[in-house]
């Protein structure tokens, strides 16, 4: 290649880089190691990991991953396939993305889904931009203070660099306050609101009157939700939300130290042209056979440029496949069972924790698999004792308020062990 392009060395390819910016130091890399040495090295590193029983949620949930999923997603046809720009040779990819989209529509109840986004937090930020695009002449988006803090932070970052003004809706006894919402809406400049179906305290929120209030002012309602729970609680459609976003991690994706996860977005039909991301559509080929294509591409930034709702022109395909396989295996009955077991475990733990006398009820509000209690003992000490005993629990949500989560993976024995450690702490 060097001969062909007339360069003498690899360094010649960097001739455009100013001399000041060229790194001339040592890379401090060790000598090459044999395969066995490399294995031993990494095994030793992995032994430093602490394996804990997870009793915390806060946006990432320790649900069970059926064994067959990694086998299916690791098939080379799926793992190495590129973006399906050329429909003729990408029917497999397009088909599974179409199935993924269909399933997200089923879970949320809304009409259209995109092909996925990077994660829940960025999906929420994209929804914020979509609200501005949908509601003409409105410049502000309201966020509930009950949203997860990391989701809020990401939305704030996007808002800052897109010149979007943000407002906040107050919390009243652990729930987004409708009075505060109406006060903010009355200012007449709200393009949309983002509220969590299950909030950072684990509380299942009541959105009676929210959609109506927002729609009257010409804005859109965006619900941030945990898709796994939509099998058993009211869907965004049932609350008359216009857009639903969230993270698909709870659909069987392992915790993996925080990623990769997958964001989803669904919306009512009338907003489809403002929705960012890829969309796969179903059509017929020249022989009249059912087939799939990327569609409505005139929304996207490679065509619409600065007029597009977003710069995203990608999706999280392999994780979307992961989620699709999970939902296919679980089905509606399986999803209901996951939630029943999680609900049962969480409520059992909740009651047992109150009996220890070290906690007090924080909110008298319904919860599913996650809850918050007021902690009457020093939180740091409690957390350390739990870590020493092999438990990740009692996340401090706010000063002296701790959160616990129980999924279908936690057995009664594990819950009883956790309670025993706390009693003796």
């Amino acid at each position: 290649m060097l001969d062909r392009i007339g360069a003498k060395t690899l360094d010649d390819l960097y001739s455009d880089v100013p001399a000041d910016f060229i790194f001339r130091g040592e890379y401090d890399l060790p000598d090459a190691k044999g395969e066995q040495e490399v294995r031993d090295y990494f095994e030793a590193l992995s032994k430093k990991n602490t394996s804990l029983k997870v009793f915390v949620g806060a946006g990432a949930y320790d649900h069970y991953t059926p064994s067959v999923i990694p086998y299916i997603t690791s098939r080379s046809e799926f793992l190495t396939a590129y973006t399906p720009y050329q429909a003729e040779i990408s029917q497999g990819t397009l088909r599974y993305v179409f199935e993924y989209q269909s399933m997200m529509c089923e879970l949320t109840g809304l009409d259209i889904s995109n092909a996925s986004l990077y994660d829940g937090a960025t999906a929420a930020a994209e929804a914020m931009k979509m609200a501005i695009a949908c509601a003409k002449h409105k410049t502000r988006v309201l966020l509930s203070n009950t949203l997860l803090p990391n989701v809020l932070k990401v939305i704030e970052t996007y808002a800052k660099y897109h010149g979007v003004e943000l407002g906040f809706i107050d919390v009243n006894k652990g729930q987004t306050c409708i009075v505060s919402l109406k006060n903010e809406l009355a200012k007449g400049d709200v393009a949309g609101i983002i509220v969590p179906g299950i909030n950072k305290y684990g509380i299942v929120e009541d959105f009676a009157g929210f959609a109506e209030a927002v729609h009257t002012e010409g804005g859109v309602m965006i619900e941030y939700c945990d898709p796994s729970t939509l099998a058993v609680i009211k869907t965004p459609k049932e609350w008359d939300a216009d857009i639903a976003v969230g993270d698909g991690q709870s659909l069987g994706i392992p915790l993996c130290f925080g990623g990769p996860y997958v964001g989803f977005m669904t919306c009512k039909k009338e907003f489809v042209r403002k929705m960012p991301g890829r969309i796969v559509g179903e059509t017929k080929d020249s022989e009249g056979k059912r087939c799939f294509v990327l569609t409505l591409q005139a929304r996207e930034q490679h065509i619409r440029r600065e007029k597009a709702t977003s710069n995203i022109c990608s999706n999280e395909s392999l994780l979307a496949l992961f989620v699709t396989v999970y939902l296919s295996l679980m089905g509606p009955e399986g999803m209901k069972r996951v939630n029943d077991l999680s609900y049962g475990g969480a409520h059992y733990l909740h009651d047992e924790l109150l009996k220890t006398g070290k906690f007090a009820e924080a909110f008298e509000r319904p919860f599913l698999n996650e809850f918050t209690l007021k902690c009457n003992v020093p939180v740091n000490e409690l957390q350390q004792k739990l870590l020493d005993a092999g438990f990740f629990a009692a996340l401090e949500i706010e000063e002296n308020y701790v959160s616990f989560c129980v999924t279908e993976k936690r057995t009664k024995e594990e819950i009883d062990s956790l309670v025993k450690v706390i009693k003796e702490a």
């Binding site: 003409k136 042209r273 005139a298 065509i303 619409r304 007029k307």
Partner: protein, 126 residues
Amino acid sequence: MSKVIEGLFYSESHEWVKVEGEIATVGVTDFAQKEMGDITYVDMPDVDDEVVKGEEFGALESVKASSDLYSPVSGTVTEKNEALDDSPELVNEDAFANWIIKVKMSDPSEIKDLMDATAYSKLTEK
């Protein structure tokens, strides 16, 4: 050769205008629809929206591109062609018969800045 109709006014961005009193009917020319290819969606403003001469008021989307529409006059939208919502291909079938919006002009003198059929024909011949 694209069709050009006498008696209408034309903008450089390929919109045509028919003036009747203070109402301007706006559409895109035959040349424009040919360039776009099969039109899949017409993004139109709502009735009562304001449009400003030279500024974007909507877009034509086709399978290969999205092209902004620029208003040849300033004023308030009095009507939009709802038939185009379900059948955007009407613009391809007959770009002159299928108008996009009607505008109550705030400054009818703006028409003077537009081209006549002859000048527009010369533009598209190039």
